[in-house]
């Protein structure tokens, strides 16, 4: 299952073009750069700051049916960890494939790592044992 990365700020598409062409760090980018100068899309996700017209650092994962499956928001002074973004994306793909009765605990990194199947009444107070596989 594929994923498309779409970056978005309140800059215009013309500014995106100029930035991508002038900043050498962006020379090889393949992702789509979305322009939201009115803040319409940014408000939809709650990342628009009315005070300065700039977006907060928010990441949102939307599944192939258009459902919001993940959200993370940091203030201006904290960057996002791409490893964690990737972990959450992989976990979402994995769970979508497994179909509903399997959950990925916090330490899950990749396929093959321990998951919890059918978490329910039997697992209440027994998460440690379930994670040990007993």
């Amino acid at each position: 299952m594929g994923c498309d990365i779409v970056t978005c700020s309140t800059d215009t598409k013309f500014t995106h073009l100029a930035w991508q062409r002038s900043e050498k760090e962006l020379a090889n980018v393949k992702y789509t750069m979305a322009a939201d100068p009115t803040g319409k899309l940014s408000r939809m996700f709650g990342v628009y700051n009315e005070d300065n017209g700039l977006d907060l650092r928010g990441s949102f994962l939307i599944d192939p049916e258009g459902k919001l499956m993940g959200s993370e928001m940091n203030f201006y002074n904290l960057g996002r960890n791409i490893e964690e973004q990737l972990r959450k994306f992989k976990a979402n793909i994995y769970m979508a494939k497994k179909g509903g009765n399997e959950v990925c605990p916090s330490k899950w990194k990749d396929e093959g790592d321990k998951t919890l199947v059918n978490p329910g009444a039997k697992m209440v107070g027994r998460v440690h044992e379930a994670l040990q596989g007993s």
């Binding site: 299952m1 594929g2 994923c3 498309d4 990365i5 779409v6 970056t7 978005c8 700020s9 309140t10 800059d11 598409k13 013309f14 500014t15 995106h16 930035w19 991508q20 900043e23 962006l26 980018v29 393949k30 992702y31 789509t32 750069m33 979305a34 322009a35 939201d36 899309l41 408000r43 939809m44 996700f45 709650g46 990342v47 628009y48 700051n49 009315e50 005070d51 300065n52 700039l54 977006d55 907060l56 650092r57 928010g58 990441s59 949102f60 994962l61 939307i62 599944d63 192939p64 049916e65 258009g66 459902k67 919001l68 499956m69 993940g70 928001m73 201006y76 960057g79 973004q85 793909i93």
Partner: protein, 61 residues
């Protein structure tokens, strides 16, 4: 700095809910051209989308 510390409103789209249909103008570095991104195209093509918001071009992201 004081004004940027203001709390923002919580996300209107909630986790697990359908994201309202949207179109947004884009620059496509792979084509060197402008375009439009539509959520309905992603749904039609069965693709996941990672929307990555950041404050401004020409700054660190």
């Amino acid at each position: 700095m004081a004004e940027t510390m203001t709390a923002t409103t919580p996300p209107p789209v909630k986790l697990g809910q359908k994201v309202p249909e949207f179109d947004v103008e884009t620059f496509e570095p792979s084509k060197g051209d402008f375009g439009t991104f539509r959520l309905r195209d992603q749904i039609a093509n069965k693709r996941w989308t990672l929307l990555f918001f950041y404050p401004a071009d020409f700054t660190f992201v």
